[in-house]
Subunit: 346 residues, 2 copies
DNA sequence: CTGTTAGCGCGTTCAA
DNA sequence: TTGAACGCGCTAACAG
């Protein structure tokens, strides 16, 4: 009988150990050292044979806190989001917190519901990767004392910490790389930037920085990731004069454009292709797709650290809010059609 | 002030509405119709202005149930697992349940911890995608009355419902496809099947069915997905006589082998490549990789249905345990190097 | 060091 | 139809 879970209660353990609830409670709390070794041993044994584990719901009810963190994710099927969840979950567990993850499938309505659910479970803190602009509910939550951190995307008017990629730096790195590789004109492709602050930030930076670096720039905003949405512009762009490259605002866009290249029979490299977000298959396609990898684990960890700082509100140990990407150069941004020995990049 | 969450209590609402806790409780429970319209209106308004939402932790404490389902995932960074989570979460939400997801990173030790955590939060049911063989803890959980469903992978000796792919059918479909395409010898590549029942089931079926279908068969078991682990065998196999194809036991293996093909400069098609699990990029690589897609949403939905049946234990509405895959034929299993007009397959 | 008492926010008797 | 009283499992005062 290895681990008969939870269903035993504090009282049962207490009676079996011939003591009171309080001592048992102390045994499982931070005051274990205030108990005599003898008592400890008795409780230890009783709890073990009963397979007792504290009921965290009941604990949360009093003052102990639920030890629960809530996380809202805009699109759980996006590998980038999953990587964030993974990082957050690891960091939370390391601090003794559990995570309840709610997906919103990029639906602002569902987002409101999920937020309410999270609040109803008395989470001690919230990590928000917003779909829409749930400013009001979040404002209310903050006002009612729930610590809160924004992940990857900001929310209008909401004064809260935002943890994520340094978008300006990412665009700068991309442009610098493309210039260095000899490209003279760049098409920036992004999903509709109205909902997501990250997309806006990248787009704006691109528009600011492309010309100063001597690049001819052009922009394509996508409402759909269907191949057909990309084809006409891509086709025209590929025929433009001079060495030209496409820069993709995120992983989804990179996927859509890789499809576009395939449909049009375009060779990567002669027409450059580069994307923000690193994906499993980027090293696999033809000469390899150059990417900017986000440090997702670090971002997730930073979010948790930041949140817990707010909770303990002591040591304002500053955490890094803007994280630098890592360049993974591959064949898709090499103008010369000379195929390199090794196009992988770990 | 749109949604000041949760922090208001039943009592505050009651006093503001000039009534008692009980009535408010009823208003939010299934007995709302036993209240006079007048009272309903008053409570409605009071609750609204206070932004009251029932505290689900407290509710779970009594008899009401926590409305929480727990889910254990072996590897949250695997797109297949994520798809399952997505399906489960949708179905759970549709039934008014929330989901707390714990990742185990394929670590049996961490798995035990996470299981204990889930139990401690008084989840009403458990959906388990096992990493190891946590037979004892699960047995104990079942014994203590927690409904439980196994997802994708079985656990030794544990008598519980298992929901997932029909592995035998999947292997059969794959072999049939390969035979039809003219391949005469097949190499089956799998990760180490010791921990995961699914891998065993597929492997065994392959070994049983390959010869009867007139195929020369060979097997490669991987302890690592590094390219080097694949290369020697793959190289030798590619030089074997007659039309030969590689069959990959899951998405990770498909990725590893696609890398292997690339490293060796092997053309897909002339040497066949096929995999279980559909991934974003399978249609993108060279002539397209043929796959067997798992109906992840249906599987997730079935798991929740099955679990909820156990909870209500009324209507033993049977759910489908073994789900059929869907074949996505592409160029990687076409012997003739003739490139098809369209190698995509939705 | 240890036990007693009093709630946490809620659902559920049971009377009224 | 409504309300008062009790208890869920636990922690936090406050005594002994």
């Amino acid at each position: 009988m290895p681990l008969p879970p939870s269903r035993a209660t504090l009282i049962e353990v207490a009676t079996l150990a011939g003591t009171s609830k309080t001592s048992v409670s102390r045994f499982f709390g931070p005051e274990r050292d205030k108990l005599s070794p003898a008592l400890c041993a008795r409780i230890e044994r009783a709890a073990h044979t009963l397979g007792y584990r504290p009921n965290l719901m009941a604990r949360g009810l009093k003052g102990g806190g639920s030890r629960l963190l809530g996380m809202l994710v805009a699109d759980i099927r996006n590998p980038f989001s999953v990587a964030l969840v993974h990082g957050v979950e690891q960091a939370a567990r390391a601090q003794g917190y559990s995570l309840i993850v709610c997906n919103t499938d990029n639906d602002p309505v569902l987002e409101q519901t999920q937020l309410a659910t999270l609040a109803a479970y008395q989470v001690e803190g919230l990590i928000i990767n917003a779909s829409g602009q749930p400013e009001a509910p979040l404002q209310a939550l903050m006002h009612s004392g729930v610590p809160l951190v924004l992940l990857d995307r900001e929310v209008n008017q909401l004064k809260a910490d935002v943890i994520g990629l340094d978008n300006a730096q990412a665009i700068d790195m991309a442009l610098e790389h493309l210039v260095l590789q000899g490209y003279r004109s760049v098409l920036y492709v992004s999903e509709s930037p109205t909902q997501a602050s990250t997309r806006q930030a990248r787009l704006i930076r691109f528009e600011q920085q492309a010309r100063p670096r001597g690049l001819t720039s052009r922009t394509l905003l996508l409402n759909s990731l269907e191949p057909d949405a990309v084809l006409p512009t891509l086709k025209a762009f590929a025929q433009s004069a001079g060495p030209a490259a496409v820069l993709c605002g995120n992983g989804n866009v990179t996927l859509a454009l890789a499809r576009g290249f395939q449909r049009l029979g375009l060779a990567m490299g002669p027409v450059g292709l580069m994307g923000i977000d690193e994906l499993d298959w980027c090293a696999l396609i033809a000469p390899g797709i150059t990417t900017l990898a986000q440090p997702t684990d670090a971002i997730g960890r930073a979010a948790v650290t930041c949140l817990l700082n707010q909770l303990k509100s002591t040591t304002p140990a500053t955490v890094l809010h803007r994280h630098a990407p890592r360049l993974c150069p591959r064949g898709s941004t090499q103008l010369s059609s000379f195929t390199p020995e090794e196009s992988n990049n770990p």
